[in-house]
């Protein structure tokens, strides 16, 4: 009972309190920019249940999934390569560090010219924006592998590939997941920026259009939708992580913690 309470009630407490406070604090608001939460929720219900789901949410999700998928593959493979080989690191890290600091908004024009506006461009931008945290975390995670484990792999004749797959990557996973977690939220943000600078539909576009036409409840509704989308994606992610890193939690808390 108490465990269930702390599992489910505790996480809900803070957001619910904040929503309630917001609801009452804003209920009499006449400010254009801070409409009553009531209006935002109504706009949310009108727009996202389920009017714009097909036209905006689904395309957004597809672009997001594609872009993030590319980032995961690129980030982990390149990150592993950079983590393992000092030579690769010396040769490539100036390039990666250079591109990492590119303000994405400034690259959009170049991207637009090469890829044109639309889904491809947005997926590419999302991939570009969210690869870095994964790459960096993977590199650092790989480098932090306990040398004793690597030596074990080497002495038992595991090939380089087998060592990478069976020893180095699993040991780097906690770091990799930290990177993925950061990248996930970043990808959602880049999706909006991409939408903003090249979009014709999609969640970010809806928010920005609402913004431009001073439909502020619409803007809040879109932000709410975004937050919920982010939350959902994150919960899925956490569930995956919970399974994949079960060993890690056990290992790092290998004690009876009575709570």
């Amino acid at each position: 009972m108490t465990r269930a309470l702390s599992r489910f009630a505790l996480p809900l407490a803070l957001p619910v309190t904040m929503a309630v406070v917001w609801w009452f604090a804003s209920s009499g608001s006449t400010s254009v920019y801070y409409p009553p939460l009531r209006d935002d929720v109504r706009a949310f219900a009108d727009a996202w249940l389920f009017d714009q789901v097909d036209s905006d949410l689904v395309p957004s999700m597809i672009r997001f999934a594609t872009g993030f998928g590319i980032a995961v593959v690129l980030g982990i493979t390149m990150g592993t390569a950079l983590g393992i080989s000092a030579r690769a690191r010396r040769a490539l890290s100036p390039v990666t560090e250079f591109f990492r600091a590119m303000p994405i908004a400034a690259l959009v024009p170049a991207g637009l010219i090469m890829l044109g506006a639309g889904a491809r461009m947005e997926a590419a931008l999302i991939a570009f924006g969210s690869t870095w945290p994964i790459l960096l975390s993977t590199t650092d995670g790989v480098r932090a592998t306990d040398p004793a484990m690597v030596e074990m792999g080497r002495s038992y004749g595991l090939s380089r590939a087998a060592r990478v797959r069976r020893v180095i990557i699993p040991s780097a996973l906690p770091q990799v997941f930290a990177g993925l977690r950061i990248a996930l939220a970043l990808a959602l943000q880049v999706m909006i920026i991409a939408n903003m600078l090249s979009g014709t539909n999609g969640l970010g576009y809806v928010v920005l259009e609402a913004q431009r036409t001073f439909n502020i409840p619409g803007m809040w509704a879109g932000i709410l939708a975004l937050a919920l989308l982010g939350l959902t994606v994150n919960l899925v992610f956490v569930a995956v992580e919970h399974r994949v890193l079960a060993w890690h939690r056990g290992w790092r808390a290998a004690e009876l913690r009575n709570d």
């Binding site: 306990d146 004793a148 484990m149 030596e151 074990m152 080497r154 002495s155 038992y156 004749g157 595991l158 090939s159 087998a162 069976r166 020893v167 699993p170 040991s171 996973l173 060993w247 890690h248 056990g250 290992w251 290998a254």
Partner: protein
Amino acid sequence: MTYGSGPTAVEAIRDVSFSIRPGEFVCIVGPSGCGKTTLLKSIAGLLRPTHGTALIQGRVVDGPPEQLALVFQEYTRSLLPWLTVRRNVELPLKARREKRDECASRTVDALHAVGLSGFEDKYPWQLSGGMQQRAAIARAIAYRPAVLLMDEPFASVDAQTRADLEDLLLRVQQETGVTVVFVTHDIDEAVYLGHRVIVLSGRPTVVRETVDVPMGWPRDQVATKADPRFVELRTHVLRQIHRERTEHPPQTH
């Protein structure tokens, strides 16, 4: 073999030359910090010696040779925490593409032999220290290596289990003819197990003496240890070490 460079460099091994015949069981004893682990790692090709070479069957070791198994002194850190005990033992077998059945049965046998039946599906960090050490031994045995390097493999198990494991190791060695290099601090154990005992000095490390153990096989915990030759040999080795201690008191670098 020197770690680091400049004024804080540590010369771990100076001149340690010996050769090991295939199928031989060699025990190495020597004071703490004299370079036994370093030596084993050099033989395993995990460290590249700064001077000299390690040879296996005439070939220079420049990477881990094939069919070699190593039981690390740091057994805890050499077990992969994301794999269960079973998978830890299976890992090198699978990497060598053994048949699945073969992997499974060898793993079960090895874990049974070290007394870990029933713990196959636990993670290493759910085991006690001695159990982890035995899991690492099981991994080495299941691998059926041609060369087996063991770094104080029985340090964390109780006396009774230790005796059982010693006999297990002797049996395996007899059956498979594996070459064993065995580091231990227990002189009785060294004399009981080895064809030869190599006594190392303190740093700068040299071979102080190589003691042949002329006793026959199979050996027996009670009979062998009661053998006057055994008693004489162990006393001899102990005396060597004691003399070493007085001649070269533990020194700073």
